[in-house]
């Protein structure tokens, strides 16, 4: 992608919804997700204009995951629905809560692999991890998520 504004505008328009959903899965708050995504893409635009970005996708997702990690260092198990949104299904809240009980890097691996669909190499590049570590985080994260969901279901049905 060149630094011309039309190309950048197309890039931003196409990536913004995906990035914002990933940010929401990372932080559980649509307003915060919107704010973090906007700031992240603004940095992508500013740095691309001065020719400092090799791969805008890797740059954008890496920057966004780092921003989510910094903002959500303390794992607050909170889900914030969008203003004016209709009721949210209990299963969704349980899933978000379980996701947010994972360490930020573990959560990032699951979101990038299972929501954004990136391969292990790309996730490794985005999170600065080697392939073995990405695979370990994914395996452990899926197992922990499954355990947490089963515990939540058991608590609900009790």
């Amino acid at each position: 992608m060149s630094g011309d504004d039309d190309g950048l505008r197309d890039f931003v328009a196409s990536r913004l919804p995906h990035l914002r959903r990933s940010a929401f899965l990372m932080c559980g708050d649509w307003e915060l997700a919107t704010e973090l995504t906007r700031a992240c893409l603004a940095r992508v635009v500013a740095d691309t204009r001065r020719g400092a970005v090799a791969d805008p996708d890797v740059y954008a997702y890496a920057d966004l995951m780092e921003a989510c990690r910094r903002r959500n260092r303390r794992r607050e198990h909170v889900f914030v629905a969008a203003a004016g949104a209709e009721g949210v299904a209990a299963e969704s809240i349980l899933l978000l809560d379980a996701l947010h009980k994972l360490a930020p890097r573990c959560r990032a691996v699951l979101v990038l692999r299972h929501w954004d669909g990136f391969d292990v190499d790309a996730v490794g590049a985005m999170l600065d991890l080697d392939d073995e570590r990405v695979a370990a985080y994914e395996r452990a994260g899926l197992a922990a998520l499954q355990k947490l969901l089963l515990e939540s279901e058991a608590a609900l049905s009790a």
């Binding site: 328009a13 299963e91 573990c106 299972h114 452990a140 994260g141």
Partner: protein, 260 residues
């Protein structure tokens, strides 16, 4: 993505229902990008001004050193340090419940060693069935959200290659028996799903100048087994950790856990 990941992907799709409109976010991104550019320009100009100021100050200082100096340097002030006190408790001990089966298997006994516990740490004595002391076991828990560089005692600055235990526990084992007065079997283990990190260390009797007496009661393999046991990770309270004001009371490990 493979077949295994599809159910999670479908679950995540439901979570995103109720997504708010994007509105004019694309324009907002470009407004923010312009703001970043302006701010960077200001920072650049500010840095230039600072460099000029530093050069001027250096010139002034150089000039003044050529003149007779009558000033006296201010004396450094003493700093006050505070110490923290661990909060002991004597409720049932789930940590001991994890250790006891391993120790019993060696025909040894284990019991709390005063001061036996604090926020994020425990210590125990080991003795044989005749009551002869066989050293101590010390355990501490930490929270390390980020990946840690497991230390290499012989090469400071390098990171050790980790081993993996089931359920996403990475660990490194440290065995040191060269110093007859401080023989150690230690394992540092980190559960990567939540960053909870354990240091478990067995030592023999210290200061005896006797290699046999200084031998730890538990082997390196047993310490490894204990440190990577999921039950031990959950045996400490959820908010317990050896950091913060009370961390001064935590045990001193042969290989300290590198904290951020």
């Amino acid at each position: 993505m493979n077949e295994r990941s599809r159910p999670l992907t479908r679950l995540l799709e439901h979570v995103l229902e109720g997504e708010p409109d994007l509105g004019d976010e694309v324009d907002a991104v470009f407004r923010d990008a312009d703001r970043i550019r302006r701010r960077r320009t200001r920072v650049l100009l500010g840095a230039g001004a600072a460099v000029v100021a530093v050069i001027a100050a250096a010139g002034y200082l150089l000039t003044t050193t050529l003149m007779p100096a009558t000033e006296t340097l201010p004396q450094p002030r003493a700093t006050v340090t505070t110490s923290a006190v661990p909060v002991p408790s004597s409720v049932a001990d789930p940590v001991l419940a994890v250790l006891a089966p391993v120790v019993d298997g060696k025909k040894l006994r284990i019991f709390p060693r005063p001061p036996e516990r604090g926020n994020g740490w425990r210590q125990y004595s080991i003795a044989d069935l005749d009551g002869k002391p066989r050293g101590t076991v010390e355990i501490a828990v930490y929270h390390v959200a980020e990946d840690i560089c497991f230390p290499v005692p012989t090469a400071p600055g390098k990171c050790a290659r980790t081993e993996w235990a089931p359920a996403g526990v990475e660990y490194v084992r440290y065995d040191a028996d060269q110093d007859r007065d401080w023989q150690v079997h230690q394992t540092i283990a980190r559960r990567i799903t939540d960053g909870r990190t354990l240091a478990v260390m067995a030592t023999g009797e210290r200061g005896t100048d006797n290699a046999s007496k200084g031998k730890p009661g538990l082997t390196g393999a047993q310490i490894e087994k204990i440190a990577t046991d999921q039950k031990l990770f959950d045996a400490f309270g959820p908010d317990e950790q050896c950091s913060g004001p009370s961390s001064a009371a935590c045990p001193a490990f042969r290989v300290p856990v590198p904290l951020p």
